[in-house]
């Protein structure tokens, strides 16, 4: 795959990120109700930190460059609410937990989604098709904050099989990741089913069979590659959705992750934490979108010459 393709993707991504970053900068500096609004009552310690960090006396463009420079070094500044603690520290404490939750959720989503979708595609218009697809409507329509408590009630309280709060043992990790994963497994199962059915109707599947290949080979080697492409495309939005959904899931299940911390900071108006976390999330989303694009091009050679 050409370097050209990769560079083109980067060329789009970087300006957008820059735009967002700049927007953030101006919001912090000038928004009414923002941290530097003179009305705000802020403890002197914090104010001192802020002034020191942001060099408020310097001309605007210098401040901007300094800000960019900090970002390039992954320095997100001091917390607005907790004196003497930096945003990086605070995020660092909870981020790993969220990463774990995210990965587990994605795993559930892919496993359940692809299995259900593949089964439905292989036996269309039978119960194997109707039942999973009806369930998927639930996953698509019901929000995480309904599914989560629902699952918690059913399996945590009424049946007492799994714990509903905390993140210490593997049992703790089941319900939250399942909650978050289910919604996306619904989309993935539909996409898989649609993609596979379309591929299975293509002539080259007939060719593969005419060559005497086993059904398994026909499915896995020939059908899946093209059939799963819609799922790959979806990975970008899915990841963004999982990040957003984690905010709620961590709140419901009392998980000490970045999402819950982010919400708390939003409620507490810790501006720098909010901005820093958002930038981190944006960065994650952009990077993962980039990799998804590359993955798609790797799987579908026709796209590489775009």
């Amino acid at each position: 795959m050409s370097l050209n393709y990769i560079l083109k993707r980067l060329a789009v991504m970087i300006p957008v990120f820059l735009m967002v970053v700049t927007l953030v900068f101006f919001m912090i500096r000038f928004a009414p109700g923002g941290p530097f609004d003179s009305e705000k009552a802020v403890s002197p310690e914090i104010m001192r930190n802020l002034l020191a960090k942001y060099h408020m006396d310097a001309p605007l463009w210098k401040q901007y460059l300094r800000y960019l420079n900090d970002l390039a070094h992954f320095d997100l500044g001091p917390s607005f609410k907790y004196a003497n603690r930096t945003v990086n520290e605070l995020i660092g404490e909870s981020f790993p937990v969220s990463i774990e939750l995210g990965m587990l959720s994605l795993a559930w989503a892919l496993v359940i989604g692809i299995l259900a979708g593949a089964l439905a595609a292989l036996r269309p218009n039978t119960l194997w098709d109707y039942i999973p697809m009806s369930f998927s409507i639930l996953g698509i329509c019901l929000p995480t904050f309904v599914i989560g408590p629902g699952l918690a009630l059913a399996f945590g309280l009424w049946y007492d099989w799994l714990p509903v709060a905390g993140w210490s043992s593997w049992q703790h990790k089941v319900l939250p990741s399942l909650t978050l994963g289910l919604a996306y497994s619904a989309f993935i199962s539909r996409l898989t089913r649609g993609g596979l059915i379309e591929i299975l109707n293509q002539d080259f599947i007939r060719t593969a069979r005419a060559k005497g290949l086993s059904e398994t080979t026909v499915m896995v080697k020939h059908a899946f590659r093209g059939g799963l492409l819609p799922v790959v495309s979806y990975l970008g939005p899915a990841l963004a959705g999982i990040i957003t959904g984690a905010l709620v899931t961590e709140t419901i299940f009392n998980i000490p992750g970045l999402g819950r911390f982010f919400i708390q900071s939003a409620v507490n108006r810790d501006y720098t934490v909010v901005m820093g976390t958002s930038l981190l999330y944006f960065g994650l989303i952009f990077v993962s979108n980039f990799f998804v694009d590359i993955l798609y091009a790797w799987l579908d050679p026709r796209v590489r010459y775009d």
């Binding site: 293509q202 002539d203 080259f204 060719t207 005419a210 060559k211 005497g212 290949l213 050679p301 026709r302």
Partner: protein
């Protein structure tokens, strides 16, 4: 010499909601090694289904094989299970299809797809198969075969892709090649090249070819014998010469008449009036009844037995047509 493939009274129907579609109805013919049999017919005549069905390439409901025998190398393959059919598909009997763009997997390299029959049927390793594949591509006239192996289908033209399909079909040295409209999607000049290639390979390997097409020109070019099908039935079969120069069936005559010819100045093209019948509503008589210029009352009631205007030439018609 015993025939390579002998089809006796083969019947294959589709059971659909609208009724039973008699897609292949009492088909009988045979083909020998080194021979080319052309199956000619309109869309819906059953020519493709007649081949796809006995190879297990059509889903069993709605397809149902109602009767008859298909002897390949002496064995009735209608009695084979899926596994046995899979073993002869791609190794003893190979198929190439009409549209090479959609018949090749766009997501895999040419090489990867090409060597699959070699790996599966001849048990070679990937490396061995790969070099054999390069040889196969060269045999079909693709220069830069090594580079081609590493390319993708969408990088090639239609003619090249069809050559790739042919190469892919030939790697296992099949006894029978079934070509389903192999040139229909190609330009005329490329058509000729492909047909020449097939003839060439046949001379070398003594392979039998069943060529399915609706194009009389293609059939004339390459066939030794011809079978004319209509609405699932055989209307006429014979050597290419007898079919073209002494057609005995009204349908065959009409077909030949309606072919536009460069060497004759005609102000109007002659057409066969009417439309092909609905295959789920066929009676017991001849399906061509409504459109035939030579029909008699018997034709509506019963499907005719074979007449033999010459040895090796059969025509299924009540009327003797001169």
């Amino acid at each position: 010499m015993a025939p390579l493939l002998k089809i006796i009274d083969y019947r294959a129907y589709f059971r659909t909601r609208r009724g039973v579609v008699r897609a292949v109805d009492h088909l009988s013919y045979e083909i020998h090694a080194g021979e080319t049999l052309g199956i000619v017919g309109e869309s819906g005549s059953g020519k493709s289904v007649s081949q796809l069905s006995y190879l297990g390439l059509l889903p069993k409901p709605p397809l149902e094989i109602v009767g008859g025998e298909v002897f390949f190398q002496g064995q009735d393959i209608l009695k084979f299970n899926q596994n046995q059919l899979r073993q002869i598909r791609g190794s003893e009997i190979a198929m190439i299809f009409q549209d090479p763009m959609s018949s090749l997997n766009p997501y895999l390299k040419i090489g990867t797809q090409l060597i699959e029959p070699i790996q599966v049927h001849l048990g070679k390793t990937k490396k061995q198969a790969w070099s054999q594949g390069i040889g196969a591509l060269e045999r079909v006239g693709i220069s830069d075969a090594e580079e081609a192996m590493n390319s993708y289908p969408h990088e090639f033209s239609g003619g090249m892709r069809q050559r790739v399909m042919i190469a892919m079909a030939l790697t296992t040295k099949p006894k029978l090649l079934i070509a389903d409209e192999p040139t229909t999607a190609l330009d005329v000049t490329v058509q000729a090249q492909i047909l020449d290639l097939l003839k060439d390979i046949q001379k070398e390997t003594n392979m039998a070819i069943i060529l399915i097409t609706h194009d009389l020109g293609v059939v004339a070019n390459i066939s030794d014998r011809i079978v004319v099908m209509y609405a699932g039935k055989i209307f006429e079969q014979g050597t290419a010469e007898s079919i073209f120069y002494q057609p005995a069936h009204p349908y065959t005559k009409a077909l030949l008449k309606s072919t536009p010819r460069i060497d004759q100045a005609e102000s109007r093209l002659s057409v066969i009036q009417g439309n092909p019948p609905d295959l789920s509503r066929l009676g017991s008589g001849c399906p061509f009844y409504d459109r035939c210029d030579y029909r008699i009352s018997d034709c509506e009631i019963a499907f005719p037995n074979a007449r033999k205007p010459e040895p090796n030439h059969q025509s299924f018609c009540h009327v003797e047509v001169k």
